[in-house]
Amino acid sequence: MHHLELRSITFEYATADGPLTALRELSFAVEPSEFLCVVGQSGCGKTTLLNVVAGFLKPTRGAVLLGGKPVTGKGFDRGIVFQDFAQLFPWRTAQRNVEFGLEMKGVPRAEREEVALRFLRLVKLEKFARSYPHELSGGMQQRVAIARALAYNPAVLLMDEPFAALDALTREEMQRLLVDVWRETKKTVIYVTHNVAEAVYLADRIVVLTPHPGTVKAQVRIAMPRPRDTLSVEFLECQREVVGHLGGR
C-alpha cells in the first residue's frame, strides 16, 4: 500500500469570472520514507496542491488517501513548512514555537521541553532555544519552522519552497541539513519547488507538473547516492531531463 496517494485531484478556485481550474485530474503516490519533489512553473498550482494535501483546501473532485484512508480536513498527521518566514509565532521563543504542536497533543511540560530541544539540536539551533523569531536570521527561522513541523511527529512532512527566499549559500547549507534531518527521522516528505537543481539534489523521485492548470507531466526517479555532487555528469544529466519535461509542451 502507498503511504500517501492523490487520486485524480481537480481543484477549482471560485473567482469573480467563474471557476478557475488550478489542478486537473492530478494523480500520484508517495511511498513510506520517500523524499518526493514536485516541480513546476510559477502559477502551475504547486501551493494549491500542497494546501489540498494539508487539508486547508477541499478538492473539487478526487481524494487524498493517507495510509489507505481518505483524509478530511487538517490533522496531526501532516506537518507543514511554508515559504513565508513569518510563519513562526513572534510571541514565542524558538523553543516554545517548537513545543506548540506537542502542547496541542497535551504532552506534559518536561517532555515537551526535551523533545523541542532534541529537534532544535537536529537543526543545529540548540543555542538559540530562548531567542525570539525576530532575533534570528531568515535561514534560522526556517530551520525552527522545520523543527516545529517535525516535533509532534506527523506521518508526512509538507514543504512549500521553504528556502526560496534565502541567498544561494545559505540555501545550499539548508539543503544539506534537510537531507541529514530526513535521513535521521525517516519521514515521508513532499517538497514543492520551481528550482530544478534543488529538486535533483534532494529527491528520490520528482513529479513534474504541466503549466497552468497543473497535472502530472512526468515522473523522474533520481537514483544517485547521497550526498550528491551537484557538478557530476550524472547530476547534470538528471537536471537536463527534468528541464526537458518542464520546457516541452
Binding site: 506537518g79 496541542m104 516545529r148
Partner: protein, 257 residues
C-alpha cells in the same frame, strides 16, 4: 552619573524656558495678575493644596472613577472586538453602529446619562466605560482581522482546537492593536471623566476642583489642578502602557521601540 545629570537638565530646560516666558507674560502681558498668576503663586498654591490634603483627595477620587469605568469599557470592548473579528454576522451587525458611535464624543452622551442615572458616581463611571469601549472595539476588531492567516494555518496544522487557537494565536497576534486600543480608550476615558466631573457637579474630583475654582477666579487653583491632571496622565502612559509594551509586543519584535 554625569550623563544622568545632563539628561535631567535636558528634561528640565524646556520647562525653565516656558516658565520664564510665562513669568514675562505675567509681568508684561495684558491680563491682571489674578487671572494670569505668576509661577511662584502657582507653585505655592500647589504646595498648600497638597499639604492640607485637598488635592490628594480630589485626585484619588478621580483616579478611582477612572479605573472602574475604564476596566468596564475595556472588558466590554475587547470581547465585542474579538467576536466581531471572528464571526461574520457580528461584524455585519456591529460595524455600522460602531462606526457611527465612535466619532460621537463620549461627552455628548453626558446629559443623557445624567437624566437616566442622576448625578454622582454611577453616571460618571458608566459614561467613562461607554466612551472608552469604542476605540477598544475598533482596534481589537482590526487586530483580530490582521492576525496573519499563516499563523492560524500553522496552528491548525498542529491540531489546535478553536479555544486554543483563540488563546494562543489570535489573542497574542492581535495584541499590538489591542494595546493601542486600550491606550486610546484610556486617553478618551480620561478626557471624558474630567469633563463629566465639571458637568455633573459631583462634589469631589479634579474636574470639579478646576470648575469650582472659577466662582472665585482662583486661576492658581485651576492651574495647579491642571498640572496634576497632566502628571497623572503622563504616569499612566509611562508606568502602565510603556511597561506593558516592553514586556510583550516590543520583546516579541512585533513593534519597534
Amino acid at each position: 552619573m554625569r550623563r544622568a545629570l545632563i539628561s535631567l537638565a535636558e528634561v528640565v530646560f524646556p520647562f525653565v524656558v516656558v516658565g520664564i516666558l510665562w513669568q514675562a507674560f505675567h509681568l508684561l502681558g495684558p491680563f491682571p495678575p489674578k487671572l494670569f498668576p505668576g509661577v511662584e503663586t502657582i507653585v505655592s498654591t500647589f504646595v498648600r493644596l497638597v499639604g492640607n490634603g485637598i488635592l490628594p483627595v480630589h485626585a484619588l477620587t478621580t483616579i478611582l472613577r477612572l479605573i472602574v469605568g475604564f476596566l468596564l469599557g475595556a472588558v466590554l470592548g475587547v470581547v465585542a472586538g474579538i467576536v466581531m473579528g471572528r464571526y461574520r454576522w457580528a461584524e455585519d451587525l456591529l460595524v455600522p453602529v460602531v462606526s457611527v458611535g465612535n466619532p460621537i464624543p463620549g461627552l455628548a452622551y453626558a446629559p443623557l446619562f445624567v437624566i437616566w442615572f442622576g448625578l454622582g458616581n454611577l453616571p460618571a463611571v458608566l459614561l467613562v466605560g461607554f466612551a472608552a469601549a469604542f476605540p477598544v472595539v475598533v482596534n481589537t476588531w482590526t487586530g483580530v482581522k490582521a492576525v496573519k492567516a499563516i499563523w492560524i494555518r500553522a496552528a491548525e496544522s498542529m491540531g489546535a482546537p478553536e479555544h486554543q487557537l483563540f488563546r494562543k494565536v489570535v489573542l497574542p497576534g492581535a495584541l499590538p492593536y489591542v494595546l493601542t486600543g486600550l491606550r486610546l480608550g484610556l486617553a478618551r476615558a480620561w478626557r471624558v471623566l474630567v469633563a463629566v466631573e465639571m458637568l455633573t457637579s459631583v462634589s469631589v474630583g479634579l474636574g470639579w476642583l478646576i470648575f469650582g475654582a472659577r466662582e472665585f477666579l482662583n486661576t492658581d487653583v485651576m492651574l495647579a489642578g491642571i498640572a496634576v491632571i497632566g502628571c497623572v496622565g503622563l504616569a499612566l502612559e509611562k508606568l502602565v502602557f510603556q511597561k506593558l509594551e516592553e514586556f510583550t509586543v516590543v520583546r516579541w519584535g512585533m513593534m519597534a521601540r
